[in-house]
């Protein structure tokens, strides 16, 4: 009657300790292995697009057509260049006007200038949805349904 509970305690403690050690070893082994990144499906071409019979045969272009296209390309590149330059100029004017305003502020009061130079904490989680081609209809009744997330969950 006295010996049995002692055995149980010893054996249990030993077993528990052994189990804990084994678990710790397993955890250490798993943690040692480098964490893998989830593979991105965008960068893997689906095999159906790699088939060899998917080749488009285009008709030959006439010289007028090629010339028209080349001239169009030139006009387009000029237009885009002007657009890009206008954007760069706009950025420069923005920066310049900001600097001028800060200079004037400095002349006005040093304290306000120091406060203006500090970073804005409220700027951060900045969210903006992209513009839409058409605004949302006011009395639109969308059909009912549901969205199921079927992303593949990768485990290591």
């Amino acid at each position: 009657a006295r010996a049995q509970p002692k055995k149980k305690k010893k054996v249990d403690v030993k077993r528990e300790q052994a189990q804990k050690e084994r678990m710790k070893k397993k955890i250490r082994k798993l943690e040692k292995a480098a964490q893998e990144m989830i593979p991105i499906e965008d960068f893997v071409t689906p095999p159906k697009y790699l088939e060899s019979h998917r080749v488009r045969s285009l008709p030959p272009l006439s010289s007028e057509e090629t010339e028209r296209r080349v001239l169009l390309l030139k006009k387009w590149s000029l237009y885009k260049q002007k657009q890009d330059e206008a954007e760069k100029k706009a950025i420069q004017t923005l920066i310049a006007s900001q600097q001028a305003a800060l200079k004037e502020l400095r002349l006005e009061s040093e304290e306000l200038y120091q406060a203006a130079i500090k970073r804005d904490e409220g700027l951060f989680p900045f969210e903006r949805d992209g513009p839409n081609y058409t605004p949302p209809l006011p009395d639109y009744d969308p059909p009912e349904g549901k969205c199921i997330d079927i992303t593949k969950v990768y485990t290591q």
């Binding site: 798993l30 960068f43 970073r119 081609y133 549901k146 969205c147």
Partner: protein, 172 residues
Amino acid sequence: DARVSCHRHYRSRPTHGIGKFKYLLPKEAPKKRRVQMKAVNVGTDHKYGDINIQMTSYDMCLVEHFARHVHRLCNRLSIRVNESYAMPTKTNEVLLLEERGSKMQLDAILTTHQRVVQICGVSATFAPILLEIIQSNQPEGVDLLVKEHTEADFKLRLKTRPELEELLAQMS
């Protein structure tokens, strides 16, 4: 490095590619380390730390082009770009309730793509200007989210380890 000083390539000359040697060296497999950089937060001084510009959309080409545009913009404005990566794609299956008698559900599969450009060290006066520029170039259907980089954001890119989590739960 002599090649750095010359910008042009002179591809029709026989000396094209003179000075190239990296193709002769044995290829080294890139060793990827999962240790992330510590967030740089230089107090109230003038710089922001690591900022993530996340762009999400259903259209992959638009998102990629926009990410490329933002990256090149930052290069041009000499803002340091830490990384420019893609987050895993999310797939949603949309089922609609058909109201014509039999209540069957139609299918459509939508994929959401997300690209992230990580920036470091923007000055406090320049950040609003940068935001303005990015907003003005934002294409239709691309949602923009600018936030600080945190460990949680980094962990979203890593695979889950259910065995490890089970063992840790058992331990504690």
